[in-house]
């Protein structure tokens, strides 16, 4: 697991931690079943407050990325569960919305945007 905090970031510290761990779980760099460092250990390693790391973990938990198991710590959940799918879908929507907005700024036609998507070969 890798977490790099930036003071210049727009995001508050807890959100930076949440997003970075999420990204690594999503792309598989942190495998399912991995036990994350404890809240106190992470706070110490990053030189930040315990409340901050607690919040990051709590949000990862409520979004279904990790589960805290008594006596074991915080464990990374299976990647293909429903919650994660919803996460991806929401992310996809957001990026598509952004793409449409930029296309409008460029006064692109609908066909042009679809063509641009097709070039990416997944369609």
């Amino acid at each position: 697991m890798k977490v790099i905090l930036s003071n210049q970031s727009e995001l508050p510290i807890y959100a930076q931690i949440r997003e970075q761990i999420k990204e690594q779980i999503t792309d598989g760099r942190i495998a399912e079943g991995t036990v994350l460092p404890s809240i106190r250990q992470l706070a110490r390693d990053l030189g930040i407050s315990v409340i901050t790391t607690t919040r990051a973990y709590r949000e990862l938990e409520s979004e279904g990325f990790i589960a805290s198991v008594q006596g074991k710590g915080s464990i990374v959940l299976k990647r293909d569960n429903k919650v994660l799918r919803e996460q991806y879908q929401r992310q996809l929507q957001e990026h598509l919305d952004a793409a449409v907005q930029i296309a409008q700024k460029l006064s692109m036609k609908e066909e042009e945007l679809i063509a641009a998507l097709k070039e990416r070969s997944i369609l």
């Binding site: 030189g47 930040i48 407050s49 409340i51 901050t52």
Partner: protein, 284 residues
């Protein structure tokens, strides 16, 4: 159970009153006690450590009170102040044997290990030590016995950034088992701010706020803009405005931020910035 509970601490001096200070600090957390010089930080901390007798108020540490268990209460505290209180003609060996006699839980081997790790000169008298060495010696002393609460009164003043960083890690190790807590006072927040869970802000002997740092930094934003952009209705929600020819800087409640005119710059504030603007606002 809370590591520290403070209720209604009051102390009257001729020209200063510490009034009705109350808070509680849960186990395993760090609290920063913040305020200007003369705000009442040392008075509060000395009363908690029972180095100073107050006019009213009660403190308990892990359920212990000074009134009922004075010895255990004192032993539960590790206090490090701004002034070192070390005997100038002592050597490290003298400090070690005094501590061994004084505190039943003092472990000479732990103490020696710190002395070695920090390369403190064992033969020299303490009066020849630098400020950094003295602070390290005090930490070695306190960390070599069983305590529940560290009270640090401006303890990292006058230390270079490298030593401050080391102390920071030491403090985080101290709370890492979730059983022990730290109360520190400071007027230089920058580095200690990072590790603090709670912030208590005192001004003229009175509480201004006591919140988690997270909540605090979400409740306020720093706003900057050109001087012409300040208009009457919006001006009311600004806290502690600092104006110059080229622009202004102020604090604003995050809830009020949407009322501000377009084009102003909004940033997340540091605790220092929150405190500075609040003091400016209170003093007009």
């Amino acid at each position: 159970m809370n590591a520290l509970e403070v209720k209604g601490l009051t102390k009257k001096y001729r020209d200063f009153t510490l009034s009705d200070i109350s808070f509680s600090l849960p186990k395993g957390y760090i609290m920063g006690y913040v305020g200007q010089n003369g705000a009442g930080k040392t008075t509060t901390l000395c009363m908690i450590a029972h180095l100073l007798k107050g006019d009213a108020g009660v403190c308990s540490i892990d359920g212990l009170t000074y009134e009922k268990q004075p010895v255990q209460y004192r032993e539960a505290i590790g206090y490090i102040g701004d002034k070192d209180g070390l005997v100038p003609d002592f050597t490290i060996g003298d400090v070690c044997s005094i501590c061994r006699d004084f505190y039943p839980s003092f472990r000479a081997d732990t103490f020696r290990a710190y002395v070695k790790k920090w390369k403190l000169p064992e033969k020299k008298k303490i009066k020849t030590f630098s400020r950094g060495m003295k602070v390290k010696l005090m930490f070695a002393e306190v960390l070599s016995r069983e305590t529940k609460l560290l009270i640090l009164d401006e303890a990292t003043n006058g230390l270079d950034p490298v030593v401050r960083r080391e102390i920071l890690e030491l403090l985080q190790d101290y709370i890492s088992d979730g059983e022990r807590s730290i109360l520190f006072s400071t007027h230089i927040l920058s580095d200690l701010e990072q590790i603090a869970d709670y912030i208590f802000f005192i001004h003229n002997g009175k509480k201004v706020f006591f919140e988690t740092k997270e909540e605090l930094q979400e409740a306020y934003m720093l706003v900057k803009g050109g001087s012409g952009e300040l208009r009457a209705p919006e001006k009311d929600c600004l806290i502690g405005v600092r104006e110059s020819d080229v622009g202004f800087e102020a604090l604003v409640r995050t809830d009020d931020a949407p009322c501000l005119p377009q084009g102003v710059l909004l940033e997340k504030p540091t605790v220092d910035q929150i405190v500075v603007h609040m003091i400016k606002d209170m003093e007009g």
